[in-house]
Structures are given as C-alpha cells and as structure tokens.
C-alpha cells in the first residue's frame, strides 16, 4: 500500500478509534451501566448478571491468552504475569460491587458513581500512552544498564557497564563537552535573547525584527547543520573561499584557510553557535513578553530619580523578570542535554566534539552495546532529574 494512503487510513483508524472509544465508553456508562435515573431492584439484578458475565469474560480471556502466548507459567516472568492477572481480576471484582450494586437505586446514586468513573475513561488512553512510552522505558533502561546482552537473553552484570563507560576516554570527552555546552549555550542564548527583546521593544519595526530572529526555531537541527556547514566550508588556499568564516578570516589577515570543524576545542564552540542561533529566538519571545509585563510605574519612578537607560535595564527590569530568565535558562538547558542532531550531522563526534546523546546513540546503534548505551542514557536522565524535581515541586506549589 502506498505510504500516503496508509497514512490516511491510519489517521482515519487512529482518530476514529479515539473518537469511537470516547463516545462509546461514555455512551455505555450513561445509557446502560449507570443511567441518570432511579432503578428498580429487578433492573439492577439483570444489569448485574450481564455485567458479571462481561466482567469475567475479560479476565478469563486474559488468562487464556497468557497461557497460550507464554505457555510456561512457572518461570519468573510467568509468575509475574500471573500476579498481574490476579490483580486485574481482583480489581474487576471490586469494581463490580461498585458499578453493579444490587437493590433499588436512586438517580443520585447512579450519577455520583458515573462521575467517579468518567475521569478515568477520559484519562485512560493518555495514561496508557504515558505509562508505556515514557514511564516504563525509564525503568527498563535502568534495568538494561545493569545487564549485558547474551545470545538469547540478558545477564545481570552489576555495574560493569558503568565501569566500562567510565574507563572510556570518549565518555569523559562527551561529559566535558556536555558541560561546556551546558554553561555556554543557555547563557549565550538567554543573554542574546534578552538583548534583542530589550532593543526591539523600543522601535517601530521591532515586531518584524523579532519575527526574523525567531525564524530559526522553525528550522530543523539538520537543516541548520547544513546551513552552518556551508559557513564553515574550507577550500584549498589557491581557490576562492566559499565559506564565509574562511573568507572573513583570510581578509582579516589569516595566513591560510582553516578546517574549522577539525580544530580541537574551537569546533565545539562552532557547533554551539548553531544551537545558540536557534534558541535565541525562543529566549527572546518569552523574555520580551516578560519585559512587557513589568509595571510601568517602577520604570517611571526610576526615570524620575534620574536613572540612565542602562541602570533601568540592569537594576529595575532584569531583577523583576528573574523568574522568567530562570525558566528560559532551564528550558534551554534541557534542550542542550538532549542535543544530538547537530553533532551527529556535522561531526558525528569526531575531532573531540562528542556529546552524551551522540555517544549514547553510537553505543546503541553502531557498537550495538545496549548495556553501555543504556548506562549513558541513565547519565542523561540523572543530569535532567534536578530540573525534573524542581519543576514538579513548582507545579505542586502552584496547585495549592
């Protein structure tokens, strides 16, 4: 089947499935399970009979499926599956009492019970997807990082993967580079964004200027890599340079064209430029909104007191938008920790430009070493977790 057609079919099935699930499950709940009206004892009794059949058909099928699919139920995995199955059955048993209560019922009872169930109907697909695609992998990666692939399975090797990783110079190179990225890129992007936001707020064509500086946000990291590779391009000395950087370098008196991406240390900064170029627009948009939110009275008071524009900016405005600056900083920090495409496309970690995400990718898919690759992924997770905890605490504070 042509992929475009397949895509269309998937959209229809996917969207139709989602809509169908939401409509049907709510319809079932409101019409048959817990209709918003009083029910006689006869009605509830027949409802309970149908419900019990349906509810026990599901676990029966589940167990049958487990037996057919995995056969051996006495291994460690089999017992684990049996326990899960037992828990599901227990949960359903408790639910039957909740949904299919016996005896005459009031409309209020039905409505309040339906309202307790409905949120979970709404949330179910999201919880399933988040659990399967984001939560489970964290634990699975943790497990994999302590194992090694052997033919036909895995064996537990303790911290050997971590030890091997620590002994590799490439890993420490990646750590060192990641730290440099972490310091420089968020700082430069935020500072540039702040400067642009402040300058453009004061001029008539500021919005157009902002839009143009914001535009790299729409460009893929790969596209940006191509753009900057052209800038860093090198031609032999007797030919005309087509890379801007070398052309400028030679016109400023450089003796011969440089292979920029192979110059140790410098090449890291040249790669960082790409991300700074992309992220400045993001910082600018958010900081510009924050600057506009500053109460005018504070600025006016400063002017009356004779502050000059620089004092107003550094002593009045920046302190007031400090929380936003922190948010921008951490958001860019997260992007930096995951930076992969730029390094992969421009140098693939050669010439001393390795970063953690690319190191991990090489381990996973080039060296095919899932243990060390997972260990490297866990290092990224550990580096991210302070921000994770901080975010969650902030969110909880806000909820209260």
């Amino acid at each position: 089947m042509h992929p475009a057609l397949q895509g269309l079919v998937t959209i229809i099935i996917g969207v139709g499935g989602c809509v169908g699930y939401f409509v049907l499950s709510n319809y079932l709940l409101d019409r048959f399970l817990l209709p918003a009206r009083a029910m006689t004892a006869d009605e509830t009794a027949s409802r309970r009979r149908i419900g019990l059949i349906a509810f026990f058909a599901v676990p029966a099928l589940l167990v049958a499926g487990l037996v057919v699919m995995y056969g051996d139920l006495l291994s460690a995995g089999g017992i684990f599956r049996l326990i899960v199955g037992a828990l599901v059955i227990l949960g359903l048993w408790r639910l039957t009492g909740f949904i299919f209560a016996e005896g005459p019922l009031t409309a209020g009872h039905n409505i309040s019970h339906a309202n307790m169930i409905r949120p979970w109907l709404f949330l179910f697909p999201a919880i399933l997807a988040l659990g399967l695609y984001l939560t489970y992998p964290v634990f699975e990666t943790l497990r994999l990082s302590f194992t090694q692939r052997i033919p036909g399975g895995y064996e537990f090797v303790g911290t050997a993967n971590y030890q091997q990783m620590m002994s590799e110079p490439k890993f420490w190179e990646a750590m060192r580079n990641n730290m440099m990225w972490l310091v420089i890129v968020p700082a430069m992007s935020t500072v540039m964004g702040l400067i642009v936001a402040q300058l453009t707020d004061r001029i008539s064509w500021g919005n157009i200027a902002k839009m143009l500086i914001f535009m790299p946000m729409a460009i893929s990291f790969v596209g940006a890599s191509v753009i900057f590779k052209l800038i860093y391009d090198t031609r032999p000395i007797d030919q005309e340079q087509i890379g801007v950087l070398n052309a400028i370098y030679l016109s400023l008196g450089g003796s011969e064209p440089q292979q920029w991406l192979t110059l140790p240390i410098w090449n890291n900064f040249l790669l960082m430029v790409v991300l700074i170029w992309i992220q400045t627009g993001f910082a600018m948009v958010i900081l510009s909104a924050a600057l506009r939110g500053i109460p005018e009275e504070t600025v006016e008071a400063a002017i009356v007191d004779g502050a000059n524009p620089f004092q107003i900016f550094f002593k009045i405005k920046v302190p007031q938008i400090m929380p936003t600056i922190v948010v921008v900083w951490t958001t860019i920090t997260l992007t930096v920790l995951k930076v992969f495409d730029i390094v992969f496309a421009m140098t693939n970690g050669q010439w001393g430009t390795q970063v953690l995400a690319n190191y991990m990718y090489n381990k996973l898919f080039t060296a095919n070493d899932w243990g060390v690759g997972s260990a490297a992924a866990m290092v990224i997770m550990i580096l991210v977790s302070p921000i994770l905890i901080w975010n969650v605490r902030n969110a909880r504070k806000e909820m209260k």
Binding site: L212, I227, A289
Partner: protein, 382 residues
Amino acid sequence: MDNIAGSKSSLTWAVHLSVAFLVILWLFPTVGLFVSSFRTGDQIASSGWWKSMFPTEQNLVIRAGAPDTQVQQGALYVIEGDLFDGRSAGEVSVWGISSREIDAYKAGETVTLKDGSTLTVQPDGIFRMENTEEFTGSRGQRIFITATTPPEFTTDNYQNMLLDPSNREGMSKAFFSTLTVTIPSTIIPILIAAFAAYALAWMEFPGRAILIACVVGLLVVPLQLALIPLLKFHNAVGIGKGYMGVWFAHTGFGLPLAIYLLRNYMVGLPRDIIENAKVDGATDFQIFTRIILPLSFPALASFAIFQFLWTWNDLLVAMVFLVDSSGETTVMTKQIVELLGTRGGNWEILATAAFISMAVPIAVFFALQRYLVRGLLAGSVK
C-alpha cells in the same frame, strides 16, 4: 514606552543600528543557503554566494561561429553572432584571440587576423568577422573575453531534486514519507490529550494532583531513554520498524506537553459557562465536545504547530523507529544527513535538499506565528 519622559534618548539611533545588525547576522546564514540553492554547482564552487548578488567579472573562452555559418554580403564573406548566445547577457570590457593575451584589445576595436580577415567585438557581445575570401576550416575562431555578467540564478537544482523521478537522491519520496510521519503524529496526540486535559482541569477525582505532577515530570524525561525499551517492545508486539511505530512513539513523546498546555488553558476558561451547562443537564461529554473544545481552539492550534514542527524536523525518532535498511521510508532529515556524508562538497544538492525540507516549516511558522508564540508563553512562563 514612548510616552515616558526621557525614554527617547540619543541611544535611539544606536538601537536601530544594532537591531538591524543583529537581524542581518541572524538572517545571513539562511540567506546564504537559500541563494546557493539557486546557483549551479560550478558557480557555488567558484565564488562565495555573497558575490552572486552582484555583477561578476568573468574570463570566458568562446568560439565564434564556424565557417559554415558564413554569409556572403556583396564581395565580403561575413560571420556574425552574439558571444553571449545561450548564456545570460553581460558586458565585454577587453578581449583577445590568444590565451597569452586575453586582454589585448578593447571592446569595439577592429583587429586584423593572420588570414587577413577582420574581427570586431562590440561591448554587448556582438561580433563580426569579415573577409574577402571564403572562410575555411571546420571550427570557429577562439575569442577570449573578459566580461561583467549580471547575477545568474537557476531553478534547475529544484527540478533535479524534486521533479526528476530517475534521481535516486531526489527528495520527493522522502518528502512524502515525512508528511506521512507528521500528520498522524500531530492529530492523534491532540485528541488523546484533549480528553485527559479536560479531566485534569475540570473533573474532581482522587489522585488528580499526583497525575498532574507526573505529567510535569514526564515533560522533561529525555526521549533517549525510551529508544531501546520501545524498540524492543515494538519488535515484541510485531510492529517492528515502520510508520506505525514512529506514529506511536511521537504520540507518546508529545503527550506530556500536549496535556500540560491544554490543561493550563482549559483551567483558565470561565467556570460559569461549565456550571451553567451542568445545571441545564449537559453531561461531561457534551460539555467537553460542545463548549470546551471550541473554546480551546487557540491552545489546540499552538500544540498542533509545536508537534508539527517537532515531528517534521525530527531525526532521532525517525532513525530509530522508522528508517530500515531498505531505505524505502527514509525521511528528509535522514536523507540530508546521508547526503552530507556522500555529497559533502556538492553544495547545490545539499542546499536544495535542505531548503526543500525547510520550506514547509518556515511557511507554517510565518503563517501561524501568533499561535506558536502563545503556545511558547503558555508552555514555559509561570
């Protein structure tokens, strides 16, 4: 700000100039690639793109018309023609007939050649050779000219990369693959997230606060962690590598942001509307589809743009979950990376390929920027 006394300082000009400088600095890289994609490979290799905007002085070697094109005018045999025939017009400054002296004569001069004929080259490239005897030989006279040619651009690169079905490096297939990845990956998470966000915003149930905290936490979980476990999972359930896997993966990775953005927006909707509807007997499902969804359109649009840009520009997820060894389903980002490896010096190919992949996101960006900014603000500023 202009209404505040003192804000119009002498710095205004400095501000204008520095903003202009920054804008040019930020645009310069993109423009460079854009201009390069309209130049031929030879042009790109022979001069920097920034010079292509201006007339350039070039040395050309052109053959005049061969003797069989001569015509007899009275007693004279004449060969006439335009040196710029078949290329863009230019202006000849000096010319010559020997490779050692390519600047021997000025434009407009008439020169007598060895065989007695005369040759005139005009500044506009028109030449005229006259002889009293018939011209012989099979090839025309070589003329070396130094000419200033105006900027010249071509759309051949795009035709080659997009429309030529025999070009194995063409982008048209990858373009449709990317589109096939992007559209379901944008629509499905929105739908799932909208219901979840409504439940988290407007329904009372135990565990709601914990779920919201979980979503906030999952926002920052690096997707790198998910690669191997999910690849294993996809292989175990029989999806393997393919569109199905990449759609699911993008859905999962996009959900936290979608739920977070939509919930924050929905919480801000006026409580009265929802309570009135409840009093009138509307069910939650009706409230959601008839009231909340239409009112949340701006937030839905913001997330849709985010997710679209992210899935369109993505490389890692596509490489891990989609692109197999057959290369039939390669996406544009992956193809560009491959071209970077195999065609590192062919900038006409690279620039064109990159621009084909960048055109759609840039168009979306300029058309729907309003929603993008709104989404960014809702997503990060607290």
